[in-house]
């Protein structure tokens, strides 16, 4: 007997999602985003999604395709280009709702969700307008002698998590090879319905660790529903050391976003086809 194999296609993963779901997306800004899965959501008939993300072009693309009802994020950025054009346009037009948190509050929200706790206390957010624009946020007083008032950051509960890793096996164990795990482990632990891992390369379990340390095995199969191999699947975001950010393509993306006709051409050229077509068009 062996552990269950969980290899799926991109379309099978996206086909398992439903409109109205809350989806957590790993990575950070324009770094190690599961873009192949995001692109497939854009091509799908899914709608009315809520996305929880340290936002980058994942949020931007989903905004551009009108897939989102709400964005829950501490920021949306392309890193080397500070502002995300599609997210900005969606905010300006009022087409999406936005829940804005501090990035530390956001991490505590992920910790709470991963531990199935209703909230975790933090000082981050106190005194700021994050409290004003989130009128449901409550504070809690320490029951100990200090009596300190803290923000009760609610769990960032999500139906589904999508993350992109450097390596994975067919069971859903996954490894990162870059300098930062981001909060991807918390996303897959937080999801209550399913967690999906896309990876640069599927390898045998025996080869998963190669010469590395066990700490680089960030994600355990116990939290993973399905895994799919999407070489260069984080493009155009970073996925060190497999590939860096495609800065030229990111600039092209931003430039196209500024003009509806240019964006239409960009979509036709790169995004209307499947992942294979995207990879061929962006080589």
């Amino acid at each position: 007997m062996t552990a269950p194999a969980k290899v799926m296609s991109i379309d099978e993963i996206v086909g398992s999602l439903a409109s109205g779901m809350t989806i957590g997306i790993g990575g950070w800004g324009s770094r190690r985003k599961p873009m192949a899965l995001v692109r497939a959501i854009c091509r799908s008939s899914l709608t009315d999604l809520t996305v929880i993300s340290y936002g980058g072009p994942d949020v931007g693309l989903l905004c551009a395709y009108g897939k989102l009802r709400r964005v829950i994020a501490p920021f949306v950025t392309l890193d080397s280009i500070a502002l995300e054009p599609h997210f900005r346009a969606a905010r300006r037009s009022g087409s999406i709702a936005f829940t804005e948190y501090d990035e530390g509050m956001f991490m505590f929200g992920l910790y709470a969700a991963a531990h199935r706790l209703p909230f975790l206390p933090t000082r981050a957010g106190l005194g700021s307008d994050v409290m004003r624009v989130n009128p449901d946020l409550r504070t809690v007083r320490s029951p100990y002698d200090d009596g300190e008032e803290l923000v009760a950051m609610p769990a960032l509960s999500m139906d589904v998590a999508l993350v992109h890793m450097n390596r994975a096996d067919a069971r859903g164990n996954a490894r990162y090879l870059g300098p930062d795990p981001y909060l991807d482990d918390l996303f897959v632990k937080a999801a209550t319905t399913a967690s999906y891992v896309s990876c640069e390369r599927l390898v045998d379990t025996a080869d998963l660790l190669e010469d590395g340390h066990v700490q680089s095995l960030l994600i355990s199969r116990v939290h993973v529903t399905g895994v799919t191999e999407t070489p260069r699947g984080a493009h155009f975001t970073t996925c060190e050391p497999d590939h860096d950010r495609d800065e030229a393509f990111q600039r092209e993306y931003v430039k196209a976003a500024a003009d509806p006709a240019e964006w239409e051409a960009f979509r036709r050229r790169y995004l209307d086809g499947d992942e294979k077509a995207y990879q061929e068009a962006t080589q």
Partner: protein, 241 residues
């Protein structure tokens, strides 16, 4: 050797970390990053600095250089841990700042439907509540220095800021020792007048008598900056002479 305005800004930024000891010097913006590394190379050797990414470099490195020898990793989750523990002095940017040091990096206009969506709050609320915070603002103007910010991302002295240290701009240096914790002019960069600064500030600024000039970089600081940290003079792009 003529000292440029950008070089004065870099040393003014470096001064923000003086006396901090063994904390992370987290910097945003060219002059601020250069300032952190210059401080570590000279008068504040215990500081921790990064490669601009997730690596703590064994020694300060030139702008844009590979990390070289590394003394630690600093993934974002550990940044947030250092914030919570207060073992970090961050120098951030701001699109708007008010007399109490409340800052906005979230959105311009009505937050519900902003005229201009900016980054989002990022770590500003937690930074300002939990660890020492300074600001580097490369363009001092009345559009940035405003009576009221449209959204409080980073909190000021009137909203429970942990420790707002100083604001460095292309014109001068400021702290929050004015009346009721408001912004006060501390020094004026060479070639700038107090009147210019007052005119570029959209609120009443505390100015105490004769204002000293911001100190010039030492010869050693200039050498390190020009020959080692920033030989391509990227600092001049942020603060044109």
């Amino acid at each position: 050797m003529t000292v440029t305005r950008a070089e004065v800004c870099v040393t003014a930024c470096a001064e923000a970390w003086r006396g901090d000891g063994e904390v992370l010097a987290a910097a945003m913006g060219t002059c601020s990053i250069l300032g952190a590394r210059l401080a570590r190379l000279t008068f504040e050797p215990a500081l921790l600095t990064t490669d601009g990414g997730a690596l703590l470099t064994a020694e300060p490195i030139p702008l844009g250089a590979e990390a070289g020898a590394v003394e630690g990793g600093l993934p974002f989750r550990d940044h947030l841990w250092l914030v919570a523990a207060g073992r970090r002095h961050v120098m951030m940017g701001a699109s708007q700042i008010d007399p109490y040091g409340n800052t906005n990096i979230s959105a311009i206009g009505d937050w519900e439907r902003p005229k201009s969506q900016l980054l989002g709050a990022r770590g500003a609320p937690g930074n300002t509540r939990c660890n020492p915070t300074s600001y580097w603002i490369p363009r001092h103007s009345p559009r940035v220095f405003v009576e009221r910010v449209d959204f409080v991302s980073g909190i000021g002295t009137d909203r429970g800021a942990f420790d707002l240290r100083r604001v460095v701009t292309d014109l001068g240096v400021f702290d929050f020792a004015g009346p009721d914790g408001t912004m006060r002019l501390v020094s004026v960069h060479p070639g700038v007048t107090v009147d210019e600064i007052v005119a570029a500030t959209g609120f009443e600024l505390a100015v105490a008598g004769d204002m000293p000039p911001t100190r010039a970089p030492t010869d050693e600081e200039l050498r390190l900056l020009r020959e080692f940290l920033d030989p391509r003079a990227l600092r001049d792009r942020e603060v044109p002479t």
